[in-house]
């Protein structure tokens, strides 16, 4: 009889807290058994600014999901986002130690340790060390073990964040007596579940446009070579519309969803749209251009920032990103956003389609990060050096007794 464990995927977003519960059966598959989401409180641009309010919100979402699933969560996989996240590419190098120039495990470990050796300041903490291909004497190799060469190199894309901000998000989860088994940045989580292996090999840019931030991850030849966070998201678009149209945020959000498009077309000037569309007092007509121009400006800004970062890293090579841009996150539902991405980045773009093997209600962009967390719960992160405490009877008892 195979054992099962219940894992929770928690994404504390700027506009929404999303919780998915999955039951991992053995080590082969995962069933989604519960989910919930609620409007976020105490979070700005992906960063927890009010610990108490955020805790209330997150705890309520977790308990609702538990009630839906009629079970309790054993462990949590937590998404991390926010402009505090930074990345560095570090290269580790070692001379092959043996006289016969055959790469041994010790050489590999030496190279990887060298790549991860870079010290951060005390205020920073590592979230990921993402391994890139090894190379022996400058030639990329998939697995260097037992290969012949003099000089072994490996690159790591290391993602780190502000220690206090990361700690705050951990405290929120621990406040409900749950431990965080792993922390994954939102873009990597989304990419893990949205991309096929072939798409990763061909190169792809996953852009997750959330409420307060836009996370992106660039895959090249199957490896993550760049991640980033743009502190602009769908809420900024709504805010711009609210100011530009001089309406409330709620009306601006409705107008964005109903009439919005991510880019401006020449015909938008003549086309009129109703603000509310229900002919109530106060409802009025606007030229569509008033809406699309505002949205285009903000969406273009997001993509331009991403473009700048790609260019800066010398990674905006269309041939290396053959699978194009995959757009996800709540704001990716915006009409024409793929065209806007195409125009800005010069790459093919498409709106994501959620995994086919989940229920339709979860096959929406808003859940891609949480689904990606569950994917990691199932597959794990390779090279994990520390794992959660073994769930022995004493640990479980300790957990129950809250000691």
């Amino acid at each position: 009889m195979s054992q099962s464990r219940v894992v929770g995927a928690v994404e504390i977003g700027t506009s929404k807290v999303t919780v998915l519960l999955g039951e991992i059966v053995g080590d082969s598959g995962l069933n989604i058994i519960g989910h919930s989401s609620c409007f976020s409180k105490g979070v700005k641009k992906g960063v927890i600014t009010d610990l108490k309010a955020a805790s209330d919100c997150v705890h309520a979402a977790i308990m609702t999901a538990e009630q839906n699933a009629k079970t309790r969560v054993d462990e949590v996989y937590l998404a991390q986002t926010g402009s505090h996240l930074r990345g560095n590419f570090n290269v580790g190098t070692t001379n092959v130690g043996s006289s016969d120039s055959i790469v041994r495990q010790a050489d590999i470990e030496q190279a990887t340790e060298d790549a991860k050796r870079r010290k951060l300041t005390d205020e920073r903490t590592y979230i990921h060390h993402i391994q890139n291909p090894f190379s022996i004497d400058g030639q990329p190799v998939e697995n260097p073990l037992s290969k012949k060469g003099e000089r072994l190199q490996v690159g790591y894309w290391s993602v780190h964040g502000d220690s206090q901000i990361v700690s705050d998000s951990l405290r929120v989860i621990r406040g409900i007596d749950l431990d965080v088994s792993d922390m994954i940045i939102s873009s990597i989580a989304s990419g893990a579940v949205l991309l096929e292996e072939s798409e990763k090999d061909n190169g792809a840019l996953v852009v997750d446009i959330g409420g307060g931030t836009t996370d992106f991850v660039l895959y090249r030849k199957g490896y993550i070579v760049l991640t980033g966070v743009v502190p602009v998201g769908g809420d900024h678009v709504t805010n711009d519309l609210s100011i530009g149209l001089r309406v409330g945020r709620k009306s601006a959000e409705e107008s964005k969803l109903k009439n919005g498009r991510a880019y401006y077309k020449s015909g938008d000037r003549e086309q009129k749209v109703w603000l509310y569309g229900d002919m109530t007092i106060g409802d009025r007509e606007y030229p569509l251009a008033a809406i699309t121009k505002i949205i285009e400006a903000r969406i273009s800004e997001i993509f331009d920032i991403i473009k700048d970062q790609l260019v800066e890293a010398d990674l905006l090579v269309p041939a290396d990103i053959a699978s194009g841009i995959i757009l996800t996150g709540g704001c990716s539902r915006l009409d024409g956003i793929d065209e806007a991405a195409r125009r800005s980045l010069g790459l093919e773009a498409r709106q994501s389609e959620g995994p086919q093997d989940v229920s339709p209600e979860l096959r929406v962009p808003e859940y891609s990060t949480a689904l990606g967390l569950l994917h990691y719960a199932l597959t794990g992160q390779e090279d994990a050096q520390q794992s959660a405490k073994p769930a022995g009877i004493w640990n479980r008892l300790g957990s129950i007794l809250n000691i």
């Binding site: 979230i127 060390h129 409900i176 007794l401």
Partner: protein, 311 residues
């Protein structure tokens, strides 16, 4: 289920300066009403589970104990604990020594091996014992309760060897050897001159019960008179109370013959006797040969001088 393809290249941030080092003390966690509710629910479930576990364990222990006891009850019966003590209760004078000689228990005999019915029978075989009960007091005691006959009279008979032998007569007429009585007690008992049946035998002795009542009445109310009584003659008392004219004759150290009517009221007769003694004492204690209290209207006193008085 969602896919299981792995990320190419590791992404873990284990090691130095990893987020995993940001554990922090537990007390720094942020509480919320939901968290408290969840914690309380967890405690409640833990407590309920603990109670349930105790109940189950208690139940199992009870079932196990019951099963064990049942197991013991059947096959262990013959090999139960040996008898360690015999509790002997008697309302009479029989001693533990008498009991040990009367019942023969094999050393190390177990409680269940002892045949309590046979033991009762052997105890009751001694006619001094009126009734007996034997019971097992687990785990290792045997209790024997005995009700003894109470002697009312002494009987002196000639044995086969011609020697005088002493017997006791109980209230129910049973004659027995009498074991364990003190000499003082026996000395206070008058001898009986039994009724001789048509075949010349003394036994069975009938009607001793009314005689014993008379003796008890005198002993308790007029002990000075009782102490003078030496022989109770039943020569004219067959014990058949429906036959008129039967008398109980007492021979005392003061008056050779005091005759009580068997069917009359002993109390009234005793009152007359005491009156006569009082009268005689006032008259200077003239010697009396016979007092007949069995007469209906009055008592007749025959003095040694030959004078007869009625009272």
């Amino acid at each position: 289920m969602i896919g299981s393809g792995k990320q190419k290249g590791g992404t873990s941030a284990g090691g130095e300066q990893s987020w995993r080092e940001l554990a922090g003390p537990r007390r720094s966690r942020v509480n919320s009403p939901q968290a408290r509710k969840r914690r309380q629910s967890r405690w409640f479930k833990f407590f309920a589970g603990f109670v349930l576990l105790l109940v189950v364990l208690g139940g199992l222990a009870w079932v196990g104990s019951t099963f064990k006891n049942r197991q013991q009850a059947i096959p262990m019966a013959p090999s139960s604990k040996p008898i360690e003590r015999i509790i002997f209760d008697t309302d009479g004078v029989l001693s533990d020594n008498w009991l040990s000689q009367t019942i023969k228990l094999r050393p190390g005999m177990s409680m269940m091996e002892a045949d309590i019915h046979a033991l009762k029978k052997s105890v009751e075989a001694d006619v001094q014992v009126k009734s007996a009960s034997v019971e097992r007091v687990f785990p290792s005691d045997l209790r024997i309760r005995v009700k003894e006959r109470v002697p009312a009279l002494r009987l002196a008979i000639a044995g086969a060897d011609g020697k005088r032998q002493l017997r006791l007569v109980a209230r129910d007429g049973v004659v027995y050897d009498g074991i364990g009585y003190s000499k003082a007690r026996l000395k206070n008992l008058p001898f009986v001159q039994p009724y001789r049946h048509a075949d010349g035998s003394f036994f069975p002795m009938r009607g001793i019960e009314p005689v014993a009542e008379l003796l008890e009445l005198v002993r308790s109310t007029e002990p000075n008179i009782f102490r003078t009584w030496q022989v109770v003659s039943l020569e004219h008392y067959s014990g058949a109370l429906d036959i008129p004219g039967q008398v109980i004759e007492v021979r005392s150290t003061i008056v050779p013959r005091i005759i009580f009517g068997s069917s009359a009221d002993y109390g009234r007769q005793l009152d007359r006797l005491t009156y006569i003694f009082e009268y005689v004492r006032k008259q200077g204690n003239p010697s009396i040969e016979r007092i007949d209290l069995s007469l209906r209207g009055s008592a007749a006193v025959q003095f040694s001088s030959g004078r007869v008085g009625t009272f």
